[in-house]
Amino acid sequence: MNLFLSQISAIVWKDFVTELKTRELLSAMFIFALLVILIFIFSVNLSVVKANEVGPGILWVAFLFSGTIGLNRSFMLEKENGCLMGLILVPADRTAIYFGKLISNFVFLSIMELFILPLFMIFFNIDLLAHLLPLLLVIFLGTLGFCALGTLLSSLASNLKTREIMLPILLYPLLVPIVIGVVRMTGQVLAGEPLSEMMNWIGLTASFDIIYIGVSIMTIDHILEE
């Protein structure tokens, strides 16, 4: 178990060092998410629609779109110099590669989200601080589900000829339950209602997270096989 954890942390560490050296990913994700929010603000008339109603949807579209950039990078980077082959040749369990990638994707996306949230608060004039804790729980569940399935599909798509195109096409239809769930829950939280009324949605997103982490553990061996 200890060995497994150190293998995972080695992969996460490697991703972080690469990111610290290049500083490519986080800034790109942040700016892209900002642009998505901006475009949506132009496309809906905020003087007519209530910010509380459209806000959650726009926020999550921004998270998912910029998250897709991160997912695309995560395995492509390995592909470029044949590093993926190196990773596979390491005498480690393939699930360690999956978990390492999952954690680094999750952490990158979470950092980006933490930067976006204050801007969202200012642009939409919504007070997030009043219900920060339930909001963070919703964001955690949603981001975890997105990364669980996204990491699996990104490892799969990285070997295709048209990988940047195929990843969103494969990923988005499967993400529908989690998108509906988190947007609903975020709306509930921002309206100041307690999250305990939405236990069914919490259960749904949590089971999405668990199912896809489980499926990924079972199938990752078949994907990372050359």
Binding site: L149, L152, L153, L156, N159, L160, K161, T162, M166, I169, L170, Y172, P173, L174, V176, P177, I178, I180, G181, R184, N200, W201, L204, S207, F208, I211, Y212, V215, T219, H222, I223, E225
Partner: protein
Amino acid sequence: MSSDEIEENEEEGNILVWLTGLVFLAAMIAIFIYVPTEKTEGVVQRIMYFHIPCAWLSFFAFFVVFICSILFLWKKDREWDIYSHASAEIGVIFCSLVLITGPIWAKPIWGAWWVWDARLTSTLILWLIYVSYLMLRAQSDAGSMRARYAAVLGIVGFLDIPLIHFSVLWWRAFHPQPKVITSEGIGKGMDPTMLATLGISLCAFTLLYFLLMGVRVRQEKLKDEIDRLKREKIYSS
């Protein structure tokens, strides 16, 4: 595959063709002559005898994809890959038919081609998932990689169905409540003649599924055979 085997398969195929044809004929007679016109909805309601069997067939086909994908990852046998490929293609075709017949039925009854109802939405998402499955197959070269990736997506996609179902159900629902299988028992909510017609129609479509599967699987196997012979020819000359 030897030539004897192919002949044998063709004979079986012929019986299936005739059987499917006969049941379809019976279903047509039942739909257009035997069954009375529904009181409130009128003649357009007859589209139900296509709409529901198509939906059943596509769900069944996707279930077969799921089972064959698991079996492929387990046994690593090309046979299962062929089955899931063929089944996914048939499923997508009939899912498209569901999405086409649905609006035709909905326009006169609901007054709109499309409403964002739970079952419509989930069928559309299902269609998107399996179209992306077929795109994945088209994107990768033939071989073990394509088969493995497709199998993973076949499993992931099918496991998503219950989650999608509940999420869009809680999102909103308009569709007529289930009539054939209700809490009071099977077939209580519907006239017996309508139920019989629907039954025949379901039978006909299920037979059609197996017929199409047979044809598609044979085609795919012959393709493999041609590839093998080509390679043999190249290396021997």
